[in-house]
């Protein structure tokens, strides 16, 4: 999907230090350098970010919605991955 040969880029913005980059949206740009600049102008013009990633949309591989069950269901039966699974005697701290 191009705009006169300008591919689509996905934009990820880190809103402040200590947080992960989060998907903010997409835009068109002729190349990575311009994509970064366009992203800065578009997605951080109200100081919403301190760092930006841009990725060509075509470079993202997504899990298929059809694979939803096999992909994500197995984890649902592994409660031992979560700290709340474990019982700790009262009064024990820093665990």
């Amino acid at each position: 999907m191009t705009s006169d040969g300008w591919p689509l880029w996905e934009v990820f913005v880190r809103s402040r230090r200590g947080l992960s980059h989060t998907h903010a949206g997409s835009l068109h740009a002729p190349d990575a350098e311009m994509a970064l600049r366009n992203a800065r102008d578009l997605y951080t013009r109200r100081s919403e970010g301190v760092s930006i990633w841009v990725v060509p949309s075509t470079e993202i591989t997504a899990s298929s919605p059809d694979e939803k069950d096999p992909f994500f269901e197995p984890s649902a039966d592994k409660p031992y991955r979560h700290p709340t699974f474990y019982e700790i005697p009262e009064g024990v701290k820093h665990l």
Binding site: S3, G5, W6, D31, A32, E33
Partner: protein, 338 residues
Amino acid sequence: MTAVTAGTTGTTGTPGVSDAAVAATQAAYEAVFDAAVAADERIEPRDWMPEAYRASLVRQIAQHAHSEIIGMQPEANWITRAPSLRRKAILIAKVQDEAGHGLYLYSAAETLGTSRDELLDKLHAGRQKYSSIFNYPTLTWADVGAIGWLVDGAAITNQVPLCRCSYGPYARAMVRVCKEESFHQRQGYEALLALSNGTEAQHAMAQDAVDRWWWPSLMMFGPPDDESTHTAQAMAWKIKRHTNDELRQRFVDIAVPQAEALGLTLPDPDLRWNEERGHYDFGPIDWTEFWDVLKGNGPCNDQRLSQRRQAHEDGAWVREAAAAYAEKHTGKHGEAQA
């Protein structure tokens, strides 16, 4: 078509599968979709969705995006004449936001498997609409204020419920738009207030603008419910959450006291509080004008579309140059080489 943006249907044309099997799968998909909508879950780009839902969203999001970028024109008309530097800065920032909102919305539309180029081509060819309100001229500075107060006010009334729209990317774009748009209405109101409290000539300018923009703003909510072709289905799909008439009434109820605070009159002799309904009654809307402007006979239809086409054509060599440069200098990872 790209990995993240393509809509996948997954069931059509699979060789060796009987029509009955396809129909059964289709029905199963449809059931999942209906359940998600009923449960107020969001539909995401790669989920299966009925083709009519997809088409309806593309139509609505495209029209919305087009409205943002065509809507830049009537206000940009006053950037170079803004009467104070403070107002000028505000207006540039506002028109810039509209370009930004257009971009968010085109992005949302692209997740449905349609490209921005395609949508722009349709706009330029007059095959997709934008909000008719922008076919009215901005004749004085006060029009900038009236657009902020009334047109953006009506738009916000329309848009806030869209933040809960069933289609995820559209809803998310609208959250961002609404957050940014809150300043648009306030700046317009403030500009009008300054005029209303200003000299006699300024007050008259403000009143004249409100007289011209009031009725077209009410028309922005679309035709009355009994004539609206898209409303019922759009509400069933939770693309839309309220009917045109509900939203219009909500807007009138909000605007009347605001007009009083401004010291300006709304041009409707039938406007009065109805104790029984708990709403303001208002006079009949001239739907002939609405349909006429929609058909292309508004004062600025040709002008707006011509300017948009012209900008697009004039910019073609620039877009081509950047693409050619990228072609020459881009490594395999998309990084422009220094």
